[in-house]
Amino acid sequence: MKNGNPIVQMRSVSKRFGEIQALDNIDLDIQRGEIIGLLGANGSGKSTLLRHIIGLYLADEGRCLTFDTDAAELTPKELGRIGYVHQEGELLEWMKVEQLIRYVSAYYKTWNHQLEEKYIADFDISLTDRVGLLSPGQRQKVAILLAIGFEPELLILDEPASALDPIARGQFLDLLLGIIQDENHTIIISSHILSDVEKVVDHTLIMRKGAILRDCSFDSLREEFIRFTLSSLNGPLPAELPFANTVSCEKSGGRAIITVQNDTQEMLEAKARELNCEIEFRPLSLEEIYKIVVSRE
């Protein structure tokens, strides 16, 4: 499914804002057809990274290619293939919602009117309201429509769902999954609401202090850490437990709750059998995995 060059290629990209190292030597390839979850605390560099992709910020050092074009030299031709929603998105405040949609859609030959109608109905958008007077949630819905209406090949969503209520968030995620059914679309979604992205992403980037800590498939991140409870069938557990790469271990008498890295259920089961213990696995949520990764490195 991965055809052609990566859609975005970053090589040794660094960026400073005064004292702050916003991006620190970033190497990154983004493949076509992926939904990428970009995770990180506030100030970790997520928005800065995304802005480099579309040339809103230019790297101090290194190079960023988007659609095989230097991000500094993107023309309307390439930019017309990118949809971008961000936190403090500026819209034309004095227009009515319908005017704004007509105004933006006129720029795109590929504007999908059917999608627009469906979106307006599904998300309950009021066309006659003045844009400047919309609630943050309504405003975000309009911004999303303007970014997806022309069916961009690359959709960049910077905290897109933060102002949406839970039901609208659910609808929004379903919408993303609808878009990705066509392999030609790539979505990068940054969020700190981890339970949101959990359902849709297939690749994860974890950032901290301007650096990328993890760049891997979501499934392999999921399987990197395993948590289990060990219950001895006779007496207390031995003082030394035979598990390598232990991330955390709480022990009390005959029971222990342990998290390990890079091990398989089969191997752990075999060890539990040797120890004459019951073993019970509990999958970790993305939030727990995220905390482990960020605290360890």
Binding site: G33, Q181, D202, L233
Partner: protein, 132 residues
């Protein structure tokens, strides 16, 4: 193919898909030669990423449970007897293992535990026979 995906269980979705399809093939829910939904159909229906489904399918193919017919699609494969027994043993092993441990923890003797197992086995088996 009736599949249920729990998006928040923490178990990777492709593993949930593999497990449920394997189960259906082993219990004749999917019979030899039955065609599986295409990657696109299944992904759209379950609302998951197509790559997730295609990953699950390639694992099932490697396991020998499904076979790819070029240009046609994926089908439940004919599984060789020896291999079939192996998979069955593994599926059963996990569950019986749990039951054995629980019995030991509760101080239930081996004979009692076996009786329990027989009782449940016979109960369902009798029901099944009556229906047929």
């Amino acid at each position: 193919m009736l599949l249920e995906i729990d998006y928040h269980s923490g178990v990777p979705i492709y593993r949930q898909v593999i497990r449920q399809i394997r189960q259906q093939i082993m219990t004749d829910g999917l019979k030899e030669g039955d065609q599986l939904e295409t990657v696109r159909e299944l992904a759209a229906r379950l609302k998951v990423n197509p790559m997730t489904i295609s990953k699950a399918y390639s694992f099932l193919e490697a396991e020998g449970l499904v076979e790819r017919r070029r240009g046609v699609g994926l089908f439940a494969a004919k599984v060789k007897k020896g291999h079939l027994d192996q998979i069955k043993a593994k599926l059963l092993d996990n569950i019986v293992n749990k039951a054995a441990i629980t019995a030991i923890q509760l101080g239930v003797s081996q004979d009692e535990a076996v009786e329990f197992f027989k009782k449940h086995y016979n109960e369902y088996n009798a029901k099944n026979r009556r229906q047929k």
